[in-house]
Symmetry: C2
Subunit: 173 residues, 2 copies
Amino acid sequence: MGETRQRDAIDRILDEWAVQRPDLDVSALAVIGRLSRYAALVQARLDAVFAEHGLQSWEFDVLSALRRAGAPYELTPGELDRALLITSGTTTHRVQRLEARGFVTRRRDNDDRRIVRVRLTETGRAAHEATHDAHAANETRILAGLSPDERDALLGGLQALGRVLGDAAEGGA
Amino acid sequence: MGETRQRDAIDRILDEWAVQRPDLDVSALAVIGRLSRYAALVQARLDAVFAEHGLQSWEFDVLSALRRAGAPYELTPGELDRALLITSGTTTHRVQRLEARGFVTRRRDNDDRRIVRVRLTETGRAAHEATHDAHAANETRILAGLSPDERDALLGGLQALGRVLGDAAEGGA
DNA sequence: CAGACATATCTCGACGTCAAGATATTCCGC
DNA sequence: GCGGAATATCTTGACGTCGAGATATGTCTG
């Protein structure tokens, strides 16, 4: 306690603005700048573990969405769009490449022939399984340096942000 | 108080894992999943305001870095790399396009001819100025729905995360 | 001062994403 | 059951980013 927190990259940005434009209110930047910067730094750490297991993070994301959907591990491209916050063109592209790797299959629904069913193959499920533990451990390790209070604060703050962003309404399944 | 927080998209993901793999510890996912998802949702809101002012967010980022460097509003490509967490190839590309729009100039340093000086033009400074207020207001508006406690929790949690990520050592000037 | 190493920037090719629109199918009101 | 609106997916072209390596310049060691 009482110890001054070490200044980070965002603090330096705020310092620069304080010199250049002391009239500005940078308190929102202090939050949002960190949010986006740290999300990028965290993603880089996650990518490193995926790479060790021969996966891109977008591949893992798709496999995870299918895995957690439960047997028969099947979703439509539209459901993937919404779950992963990506556009339909991106989903088509991702599914094609996962199909080429043998991780998923695609087939038309016979009741509604507009719909496609993307299903995890056994190979795909195994690839997810093989990577998941290391990934989860990686996430745990990243947060391990936080005290319980800090971690609660971060989670609570993010939950509140999610409420403000209206996330409950988006990404529905 | 006592009111149950509305369940959001990440809660639904956690619920799905609880059904599929009740043995998993998803508490780290609850934090990191939100971090990356909300960073993406926030970025989309920021992009909307930049678009109203005819800028891409990467353009605004470069103009901001130069602006807050102070007169003569000049940085090297390497400094931009580190400030913006991008690779040198990306910086070259960004600077070329900002130069084409008349927002920056490039010239070799005469003392060390490996070095380039990227300088904000008056046009570039004006473009930043014209966008900055709306952008700052947008950031403030996004956070306006948070209570002071929630906002403090979010900021404090992010600062702790920055410490854990070693951000103080990165992005230095 | 020559050679090796270090630094700064740029080039090139590949990749992932998006936006807009095309196509195919289903639903709904009459 | 017909025509138009709605829905689901795919196609296309453009763009931003990265990684690896090329080039040019500077520094250091002996």
